[in-house]
């Protein structure tokens, strides 16, 4: 909104279109996220919000337009330790048992060299990340045996462990109990206070809504609202029916 921003944007999306199996899921999306902003990407199922963040982190190719992360096109971006990503997951478990600490240690791989064991400082970082999401007591438990909310907290810890500058969360509160939601709203608040940029996809923000300072609403692959959080949308999900454009203040 302010055209003369000194710092380079954390995320710069220009005229982005994404094609998934022949269907245009995003159409001409422009989005700029400045360092330190906490942005909620809202919209109904199928509005393209997950597609948008997955394209930002380079998991999906752009059909048209481009995506820059910290000033570098995402295809050539290599400083992955600056990004913490929480993918949309139902479970954190795989085919073989793994402990909470093992899953979180994966978050350090952007910094670790090959063929090196964990350093003491890295172990401390794992413990600290687990402390933030209140899972330190379960560090040796198998993730498969935890509740859905606890598994989601493990995934948040995995993203936080590398101390990222940009945190991207895809539906972090989906299917998570209120206790876990407020625990990681606290974790995110603490990161925000330290200047971390946060992009959060959600259709129901829950306890997170107090943290948001800007919301972007997608509808059928287009940005239909981009601005300060609106009283009618911060606490509620966006409803599929009823035209948003008719409401005053929705289009900037």
């Amino acid at each position: 909104m302010t055209p003369s921003q000194p710092a380079e944007p954390a995320v710069q999306v220009t005229d982005l279109s994404v094609d998934l199996g022949g269907r245009l899921v995003l159409r001409g999306v422009d989005l700029q996220i400045r360092p330190g902003e906490v942005v909620a990407v809202l919209g109904t199922n199928g509005s393209g919000k997950s597609t948008l963040v997955r394209t930002i982190v380079g998991l999906l190719p752009a059909a048209r337009g481009d995506v820059k992360v910290f000033g570098t096109p995402v295809r050539r971006f290599r400083q992955w330790n600056r990004i913490g990503y929480v993918p949309q997951r139902i479970t954190a478990a795989g085919g073989v048992p793994a402990t909470v600490a093992e899953v979180v240690s994966s978050g350090l791989l952007s910094k670790r060299r090959l063929f090196r064991p964990l350093k003491a400082a890295e172990r401390a970082a794992i413990d600290e990340a687990l402390e933030i999401v209140d899972m330190a007591a379960q560090r040796k438990d198998a993730v498969a045996e935890l509740s859905g909310g606890q598994q989601q907290r493990v995934l948040i810890a995995r993203a936080l462990v590398s101390d990222p500058e940009l945190l991207i969360l895809d539906e972090p509160t989906a299917g998570v109990d209120l206790a876990s939601q407020s625990i990681f709203a606290g974790a995110i608040r603490e990161r925000v206070a330290r200047g971390t940029t946060v992009v959060m996809v959600s259709h129901d923000l829950g306890p997170m809504d107090a943290l948001i300072d800007r919301s972007v609403i997608l509808r059928r692959g287009r940005v239909v609202y981009d601005g300060p959080p609106h009283a009618s949308q911060t606490h509620a999900h966006v409803h599929p029916h009823g035209s948003m454009q008719d409401e005053p203040g929705w289009l900037s």
């Binding site: 793994a98 994966s106 791989l109």
Partner: protein
């Protein structure tokens, strides 16, 4: 112990030891990725490789490893492209591999007996030159499986997260496929191509009965693999049966014992430690306190004259414009 003085038995045991270590090591990653049957697919493809070796007169171990690597790479690429799902890609190569192998063996003029030694393992056929190849390949697999453990774990556990961490996911996936192919070839002489996948998967499944961490599953599976291989080779020498079948039957017996013991153990642990109530209940509305009708002397019954009203699971009585319901020894306002 005359058995270990025989040179071919020494070679068989070394090959068995290395197979027992490397097959579960790579198998743990395959199971983690839910690609348990990949070893089987590669084993079938390797049959074509063996046949190619026999046809051209080159060492079958060498041609098998090359064809297996090519096949594993093909499986991985098809899977990654997402054109056919992983299991369809496996099925295509299964049948292609085994059909091609049988066809080529026939062309080479070799009978079923030769093929059998590769399909089910044969102790006497491990030649000294085979052994060098086997040792080299197995050591390479183990170094990669242990040294790149954290990276491979991350890729198998959550591929998308691994990519956003900056890992070269496609390369690591390919590495797993190639290591699986190499392991299949290493195990060809001891377990045989048709049963090698069992040695990749069964020890991992057995270990999982007792373990909570990936690391301990990995190490327990390797220990179980070595035990099954050595015990199987010794048994097959004495009983004069195919080593591959013996090893796999022993490994499966171990799994059955572990599964029963694990179930009993978990049930017992479950009885001793009931689920903790760790989630504080937030946002659950407290039950609404019921209002007791004060000084209600009258006892309602179907014949008391007050109109009876069905109310969910009970009956209310209309009394002076409000509803009364029986609750223990008193009446509630409803």
């Amino acid at each position: 112990m005359t058995m270990f003085e025989l040179e071919f038995m020494q070679r068989a045991l070394i090959a068995g030891l290395l197979t027992g270590l490397s097959a579960p090591a790579i198998g743990t990653y395959l199971v983690q990725r839910r690609l348990s049957l990949m070893g089987d697919g590669i084993g079938h493809i390797a049959i074509t490789g063996v046949a190619l070796g026999l046809l051209t007169g080159t060492a079958p171990v060498l041609t098998a490893v090359l064809v297996a690597i090519a096949g594993a790479t093909a499986i991985e690429l098809v899977r990654a492209r997402g054109k056919a799902s992983g299991d369809v890609a496996l099925a295509l190569l299964f049948y292609g591999g085994i059909a091609g192998g049988v066809l080529l063996i026939g062309l080479a003029g070799q009978g079923a007996a030769t093929l059998n030694t590769y399909l089910f393992g044969s102790l006497t056929t491990v030649s000294p030159s085979d052994l060098y190849v086997v040792v080299g390949l197995a050591v390479a697999v183990l170094v990669v499986a242990i040294g790149l453990g954290p990276q491979l774990f991350a890729v198998c556990q959550d591929e998308e997260f691994a990519r956003v961490t900056g890992l070269r996911v496609q390369l690591l996936n390919l590495l797993i496929a190639v290591m699986a192919a190499v392991t299949v070839t290493v195990a060809m002489r001891t377990v045989g191509l048709l049963l090698v996948s069992a040695l990749m998967v069964v020890p991992v499944a057995t270990a999982q009965q007792f373990t909570r961490s990936f690391r301990s599953t990995f190490m327990t599976a390797c220990a179980l693999g070595v035990t099954a291989c050595v015990a199987g080779i010794v048994t097959s020498y004495h009983a004069n049966v195919a080593p591959g079948a013996t090893i796999v039957v022993l490994a499966l017996a171990g799994f059955v014992v572990a599964a029963i013991a694990g179930t009993l153990l978990r049930r017992r642990r479950g009885v001793l430690a009931p689920l903790q109530d760790e989630e504080p209940e937030i946002g659950v509305p407290a039950p609404v306190p019921h209002v007791v009708s004060t000084a209600h002397q009258h006892a309602h019954d179907p014949k008391c004259g007050h109109p009876a009203v069905e109310h969910g699971d009970h009956v209310d009585y209309v009394h002076d414009g409000h509803l009364h319901a029986a609750h223990g020894d008193h009446w509630d306002e409803h």
